[in-house]
């Protein structure tokens, strides 16, 4: 078997990578905010809020992401909402990521000591203040390892939006493969680009995890 690589591929693949990176970054950030709201709502909300949040999570975690992407891009126009393929992609990835992030956040929220919350309530803090100053900061520290999972998954799942012709990495790879008939080499490169990004992002989060560790707590060097 002889492999062939062509430097001219790097242009389109590089552009595709930037779009993938942009999609992931926007979706994970927006999903972060929305996911946190969902998780807080699910843990501390009253019945209707809990129900709403649970229904949302059930839907977005229970259906394939591709179905969600198609509903937004191909389905919404029939009710008069037309979104560009890029906006549809961002929306679908955000809504999906929010659901998963919410579950990770919820797990960490439940792990924060209720007694600490109680103590600041006796200082006169409102429930929201206690959540803001005690629960959220600890939740965010604890959630990093599992949150890293979600980031990595989102990056890889963002490749699905090539189906609605968003010119991201996968889309560019397919296009190149079609023209050059070099599928093996090209998808190998595409795969390595995803892998490299995953490794770098995981490293960054690992450093962050170590940086925000609370002194005196937990196993050393873990």
């Amino acid at each position: 078997m002889n492999l062939m690589f062509d430097w001219s591929w790097l242009g389109p693949l590089g552009r595709g990578f930037l779009v993938t990176f942009e999609l992931t970054l926007i979706a994970v950030s927006a999903g972060f905010v929305f996911g946190l709201v969902l998780a807080v709502g699910r843990v501390y909300g009253n019945r209707p809020i809990r129900l709403l949040s649970t229904t949302y999570l059930t839907f977005f975690r229970g259906t394939p992401m591709l179905v969600q992407i198609f509903i937004i891009y191909f389905g919404l126009p029939s009710v008069g909402i037309m979104l560009s393929s890029f906006t549809s992609a961002i929306l679908a990835l955000t809504l999906n990521s929010a659901a998963y992030q919410a579950e990770y956040f919820r797990g960490s929220i439940l792990a924060v000591s209720k007694d600490e919350m109680l103590a600041v309530r006796t200082l006169g803090m409102t429930p929201l203040q206690a959540i803001r100053h005690v629960v959220i900061p600890q939740t965010l520290r604890m959630v990093i390892p599992s949150w890293c999972n979600q980031l990595v998954n989102l990056l890889k799942f963002s490749s699905l939006v090539y189906m609605i012709r968003v010119p991201e990495l996968m889309y560019q790879g397919r296009l190149l493969a079609m023209f050059t008939y070099r599928s093996f080499e090209i998808f190998l490169i595409v795969g390595m680009m995803y892998l490299g990004t995953v490794v770098v992002l995981s490293r960054i989060l690992r450093v962050l995890e170590r940086k925000v560790r609370i002194p005196g707590l937990g196993a050393k060097g873990a």
């Binding site: 007694d115 200082l123 100053h133």
Partner: protein, 254 residues
């Protein structure tokens, strides 16, 4: 006017009647110690005072304001009632200084500079001015409990409730916490203390309440309570307790 008035508090959890009509009063500057077997509602009584637990019936007044009135802003009211817990309950991710100044800053909206000064003053008072930059997990239990007392003090409360403040401590660390509490009592702070530390009760309590099965069985000054308790139940309990915890105040030993 009494600083604290508790009137006929009743509370049950399911079919378990935890408090069965408890009434008591506290003058400003007084220290009241509540003793009694476990499960008799001591902690619940404390929690009914700042409404961490809502009593089924009965009323509580603090300094003329009815705590149990649904119209009372309970968050505002809680800011004038300190509480110290058995397990310290310091905020894990905050340094000692932040743990103490977070109340004044976030609840009373005091600016950072003043809140810091206030926190330092209180930390000095409990003997921990050298630990401001430490995290709770880096401190001993006794130090953590003193931080939590400083946290309560930083709100400049009218009353501080102590819920078994030394029960989670190693024996050799109990003295330093009791010493701080004695200092508070002597400086005129009003305290309600649930404890098994008979020595502490003896030396600083103005009155001791013996609570059993959700009722006040006996209520008298410490010298009377500990030398000639009226009820046989009180005698039995005190006998057990003194056997376990000893007569002398540990604060005096240190």
């Amino acid at each position: 006017m009494k600083l604290l008035r508790v009137e006929d508090i009743r509370k049950s959890f399911g079919s378990l009647q935890v408090l069965d009509g408890v009434s008591c009063e506290l003058e400003k500057g007084e220290t009241k110690v509540i003793i009694g077997p476990s499960g008799t509602g001591k902690s619940t009584l404390l929690r009914c005072i700042n409404l961490l637990t809502k009593p089924d019936s009965g009323r509580v007044w603090l300094d003329g304001v009815e705590v149990t009135d649904p119209k009372t802003d309970i968050n505002h009211l809680r800011s004038s009632i300190g509480m110290v817990f058995q397990n310290f309950n310091l905020v894990t991710h905050l340094k000692v200084l932040d743990n103490v100044r977070i109340g004044p800053m976030r609840v009373k909206r005091i600016d950072k500079k003043c809140a810091t000064d206030l926190a330092l003053e209180k930390l000095t008072r409990v003997g921990l001015s050298d630990k401001v930059g430490s995290y709770p997990a880096e401190l001993s239990g006794g130090q953590q409990q003193r931080v939590s007392i400083a946290r309560a003090l930083a709100m400049e409360p009218k009353l501080i409730l102590f819920d078994e403040p030394t029960s989670a401590l190693d024996p050799e660390l109990i003295g330093e916490v009791l010493a701080v509490m004695e200092d508070l009592a002597q400086s005129g702070m009003s305290l309600v203390v649930v404890t098994h530390e008979i020595g502490f009760a003896r030396s600083v309590a103005d009155e001791v309440i013996f609570l059993e099965n959700g009722r006040i069985l006996e209520q008298s000054p410490p010298e009377k309570m500990f030398t000639e308790p009226k009820h046989q139940r009180t005698q039995q309990f005190l006998h057990k307790i003194t056997h376990l915890y000893g007569h002398e105040s540990r604060a005096e030993e240190t």
